[in-house]
Amino acid sequence: MSTQSMTARPIEAADETALPNGSGAAALLAAGIGAFALAVLAIMGDRIAAFGKFAVFYKPTGPLSGVTTCAIAIWLVAWLILDLRWKRRDVALSRVSAAALTLLVLGVLLTFPPLANLF
């Protein structure tokens, strides 16, 4: 059986322990990066006039359109890059999870206006 046909087996039939954790770690960390990027871009859109103007991708929605579109682009690009690098290997999942959750929590906190206004 070729390597390709082995990797193409459905998950149900695959040896569960043979799945590297890299893909999951990549998805987790990328989501954390996306959440944090959203908060940072929101602050930039509010504080930096030139960025706020650039971020108007759709006039009726205003800078929110560019802020969210850029954050989604950063999230997806980060996911693609991390997945390409990690999908065939095991990574330090606890550390990656901790980093991803920290970024997510920071993302939630930094979107809170009283905290965002500190910058």
Binding site: I11, E12, A14, E16, T17, L19, N21, S23, G24, A25, A27, L28, A30, A31, G34, A35, L38, A39, A42, Y58, P60, T61, G62, L64, S65, V67, T68, A71, I72, W75, L93, S94, S97, A100, L101, L104, V105, G107, V108, T111, F112, P113, P114
Partner: protein, 189 residues
Amino acid sequence: MEITAHGLWSLIHGMGFGGLYLLACSGAIVELWRRYAPGAPAEPSTRDERFFRIYLVAMAALGWLAVLTGAYIVYPWYRAIPPAGTISLAGYPQRLLMSSPTTIGWHSLGMEWKEHVAWLAPISITMAAAVFIRYGRAIRKYPPLRNAVLSFVVVSLIAAGIAAFFGAEIDDQAPVTGGATIHLINGGK
């Protein structure tokens, strides 16, 4: 009984997509907590696993529909700028909220937070769906991965809850109205 087109879209965005997302979140949390915990007594069947994959994908679709309809359909009506000389701000919710010190917080804190934090929900649940599609029941072999996915789903519930709370309150203080009037049903005499 009538409703305006803008009011109907506001309802579809908030109570439709957003409300269903919130309801679905609790189901996903229970399922991840109970069935996919390391050492859970019962092995999930292939059918259960397939159902949960579809469930998470449907949640991701609901999450994206909620934020996209909110940002690109309802929000432009919310932030519409009244023409000079406008006396009644009833059709301009953002300006109506900002016109009074007792309501300005609903915009400066409520809407400003809601419009950004809500996006963390679809990002988180899309990640959860992708991880589950990839790993399925094998996620039980990776407790840190399963715990992190569960945490992201919990945070997505919190983010959606914040958005829902402020959305409901803002709509109560300054509803989005306007557009064509849709006649629903005749009232009683």
